[in-house]
């Protein structure tokens, strides 16, 4: 029996479908552009005037028009949604908070990752093995997932997250480092209480610790 070789199917880099089905996806415009840049021969075989003229369909012209109109509407909606999402991503920031557990121990809390479609569980695992420490995903007070990493690895985490964002073409997103010193806060509170009892008067305005 002669050998059967696997057929090579070229897939769309935008929607992952075989490009002949891109027209039914939600990213048709971007798919088409991508194909033109990445596989011109296939692009011509699908979208050249000749190909389009030859693509006979048994559907009536009206039905055909209705299908394309519905698809166009859906695709325009999707484009608008993507644009909104992108704006939201660009406007948000990632916060890495360094918290002092005691004199020598710190943990860092990373929040604000949820809008970037980053797999947090996986990232926590990566951090755990990269920094040889413990890392987990927990829900914060706002019920949003955040990553908690044991150890003072704020700078390293920042560098890694910036690299991740860059890969997604989101280099404009800010990654902000914050310091939350329990000791300092406590001392400030104690001082305020002392001042209050000493004067018996109005407490001084609360001091910001960061």
């Amino acid at each position: 029996m002669s050998e059967i070789l696997p057929k090579e199917v070229f897939y769309c880099g935008v929607c992952t479908f075989p490009p002949e089905y891109c027209e039914f996806g939600l990213s048709f415009k971007r798919c088409k552009q991508w194909l033109q840049e990445n596989n011109e021969a296939l692009f011509d075989s699908i979208y050249s005037d000749e190909a389009l003229a030859n693509a006979t369909s048994t559907l009536s012209v009206e039905k055909q028009a209705k299908i394309s109109k519905e698809l166009e509407k859906k695709q325009a909606k999707e484009e608008a949604k993507l644009e909104r999402e992108l704006q939201m991503k660009l406007a948000s920031k990632v916060i890495i908070k360094r918290i002092e557990r005691n004199k020598r121990k710190h943990v860092i809390e990373i929040s604000g990752l949820e809008v970037f479609n980053i797999d947090m569980k996986k990232l926590a695992k990566t951090f755990a093995s990269k920094f040889a420490t413990g890392a987990s995903v927990t829900k914060n007070a706002e019920k949003k997932d955040e990553i908690v990493v044991q150890g003072d690895v704020s700078d390293e985490a920042k560098a890694y997250i910036e690299k991740l964002l860059e890969e997604k073409g989101l280099n404009e997103v800010q990654v902000v480092q914050e310091d939350d010193k329990k000791g300092k806060k406590k001392a400030a509170l104690a001082a305020a209480a002392a001042a209050l009892s000493a004067t018996g008067g109005v407490p001084p305005p609360a001091q910001k610790t960061r």
């Binding site: 029996m1 050998e3 059967i4 057929k7 199917v9 929607c15 075989p18 048994t58």
Partner: protein, 179 residues
Amino acid sequence: MFKKFTKEDVHSRSNIKSSVQRGLKTKFVSQFEKLEPVIDDIIPKKSQAILIKCEDRIQLYSIDEEVVLFQHFDDLIPTLKVVHKYPDCFPRVQVDRGAIKFVLSGANIMCPGLTSAGAKLPEENLPVDTYVTVYAEGKENALAIGKLLMSTDDIKSINKNIGVELVHYLGDGLWNLTE
């Protein structure tokens, strides 16, 4: 079956024994006889298949980080990526252009979508419960895999109700699953 499937539905992964792997290949070929000459290309002799157990007793088998087939109850079914590579190894049906968008949203296929002018059914009868690859008018590659709920002769003669139960399609959770 994979409409709402996500990574969260994966319960466990494990290497399968080589004896189990041989059994899997034999069973897969017994279901799709035309796979015989290519089965060693799909699941090479020296490869290690990984069993991925999922919600709803769905079991996926992957080779080199790509899922090649899955099991539901007692049936073994290829993934679309495998169908695209070996299109001639599986029975096929074709829907008309009007049905494409419904198939791509995961809907079962009604008989008229399989019997209209743009559609195609094989001449010889395929019995009920056969797994078929689904093609479309004017397109080259398969867009879905389904299970016949009626024999193809019945689809032709009765021509109403659901003819094919959709199992796996372009853009569903299995298609989008990345290892």
